[in-house]
Amino acid sequence: MTAAVATPTAKPTKAGPKRSKGAPLLGLVAWIVGILFFLPVAWMVLTAFHSEQDAATNPPSLAAPLTLDGFREFFGATSGASPWPPLINSAMASIVSTLIVLALAIPAAYALSIRPVRKWTDVMFFFLSTKMLPAVAGLLPIYLIAQKAGMLDNVWTLVILYTSMNLPIAVWMMRSFLAEVPVEILEAAAIDGAGLITVLRRVIVPVAMPGIAATSLICFIFSWNEMLFARVLTGVVAQTAPVFLTSFVTSQGLFLAKVCAAATAISLPVLAAGFAAQDKLVQGLSLGAVK
């Protein structure tokens, strides 16, 4: 695949699959399917803007007046707990761990693609195999170690764990992206006597920027979404947004509009980033196999 990708023949496909006889009807089917899949999200957002009373009706009220009460509740205007500390914790754990992942994964991918170490496929499989180790199997020792080290309820514990959680996939993705860097550029750099750091910083990183963006996006999404570690290892101080969201429901009984407002607000960063960088997402998810 990757070999073929570089050739221009693969390109035109993206531009335009041809229209055939059944096209209008199948286009309609695609629209219906798309709307069906989007419906729950739309419903979440709509309910978030409804009053509690209008949210809990059967049949559902589409024309009910819109209100910001749910969001006001969530952001703590009327209730006690502020969502800002958890949101900041989530942002910090996700962004910092993503940066560390990149710092570790790019050199590793270099060693696995551009000047491959011997047995590089074995190393690749090792990386992937760590993803298959169920998180719960290491959870208890991690909990005990964090407890001993006084690192329970500490964002940095999550940063370390999220880094290890995303590193294997990031190495796989970055390897595929780096494998696309033209050999000529690297040879030119080598002849100019550039060292590893210089080559990475001045040559590879700029060329592989789209791949780096895709990798970052996916690491960010998985970290922002993570709940098991966050739930077990954090308490009050380092609580993340997903954990806050669940406590939001249980501690106060069910308020549908408020829960939907909270769910919408917490999903917003990922939704925005994902919508903005759809193509990057596609590339990243296919582990860079497609350009």
């Binding site: 695949m1 990757t2 096209a23 695609a30 049949p59 590089w120 499989f125 020792p141 994902g274 998810l285």
Partner: protein, 315 residues
């Protein structure tokens, strides 16, 4: 996990030619790899070794004085424990169902979206949304806003369509596992669709056109050209999907709290450790999960190895 036997390897990658780049030794090659490798071994492998040790101990944090060596006692418990055996089956059913259904749906939708039609970009954006909603938020949304028998959207739609006498099922109680599966399929179909769409768009057009000129039917073209080309993408989707869905915690935790026969292994281990405080037994269960995963992973890695085939040239 180090135990995984990698699939039979092709001979180590051919060395690159330029001599300028070969001058430095093996260690210079390895150096950039080491930070990532060392970090990952420390953070993922060492805790597992500790889990292994604890699994042979009597250790319940509620009775700190009774800590001691248990031999294989915990393992005996694990294998005779009906709850745990059931959660193994639940995990398998859940993973296979979600991966298969979302893969098939994802393929169908990717085929639809690979055609030109008005608003294709918008439809793709709509489709992606479920994958981007935070999983816990998605689970809460399904539980309270969609499945709720009193005012959930699903029953609301039934009332809309069939009037006040419409059936009003209590989805989660009546079909707990399927409720979890439905919400996960909704979240993972877009993921599969994205991977498969990428595969479809990388399919060289000329072969398809040549086949068309030769009078191949669309079905034949799909069966003999598209499907073989898509194999790697289907495998990739199945592999990544399985890795994440076997470990699913959020949906089970939120939708049913593991009740009504939906407790999967991660959830069961979580409760053994977090609520029963039985560290030894939770660890033994964790080790059993890992052994099971190794079996599946060894198989899966063989499958993924096909991902390397076409890349050999470069490396």
């Amino acid at each position: 996990m180090t135990a995984i036997a990698p699939p039979a390897q092709k001979p180590a990658s051919p060395e690159r030619k330029p001599t300028a780049m070969r001058r430095t030794g093996d260690w210079a090659r390895r150096a950039p790899l080491l930070p990532a490798l060392v970090f990952l071994i420390i953070v993922t492998q060492l805790p597992f070794v500790a889990t292994l040790v604890i699994s042979f101990m009597d250790w319940n944090s509620l009775y700190p004085d009774d800590r001691g060596f248990a031999g294989v006692g915990n393992y005996a418990d694990v294998f005779t424990d009906a709850t745990l055996r059931k959660s193994v089956i639940t995990t398998i059913v859940l993973t296979v169902a979600v991966v298969l259904i979302s893969l098939l749906l994802g393929l169908a939708i990717a085929l639809l979206l690979n055609r030109a039609f008005r608003g294709r970009g918008i439809v793709r954006t709509l489709m992606i949304a479920p994958f981007l909603v935070v999983p816990v938020a998605a689970a809460l949304l399904w539980k309270h806003a969609l499945f709720n028998p009193e005012y959930g959207l699903f029953n609301g739609i039934l009332t809309w369509l069939f009037g006040p006498d419409a059936p009003q099922p209590d989805w989660i109680t009546e079909a707990p596992l399927w409720s979890v599966i439905a919400s996960l399929v909704w979240q993972w179909t877009p993921f599969m669709m994205l991977i498969l769409l990428a595969g479809l768009q990388s399919q060289p057009l000329d072969a398809l056109e040549a086949a068309k000129v030769d009078g191949a039917t669309p079905v034949q073209m799909f069966r003999f050209l598209t499907l073989p080309h898509m194999r790697r993408y289907l495998e990739l989707g199945a592999l990544l999907g399985s890795i994440y869905i076997v470990q699913n915690f959020d949906a089970v935790f939120t939708l049913t709290s593991g009740g009504l026969g939906t407790a999967n292994l991660p959830y069961t281990i979580y409760t053994t450790f977090y609520q029963a405080h039985d560290y030894g037994r939770a660890s033994a269960a964790g080790v059993v999960v890992v052994i099971g995963t190794i079996a599946i992973a060894t198989f899966a890695l063989r499958v993924v190895s096909s991902l390397f085939q076409e890349e050999e040239g470069r490396a």
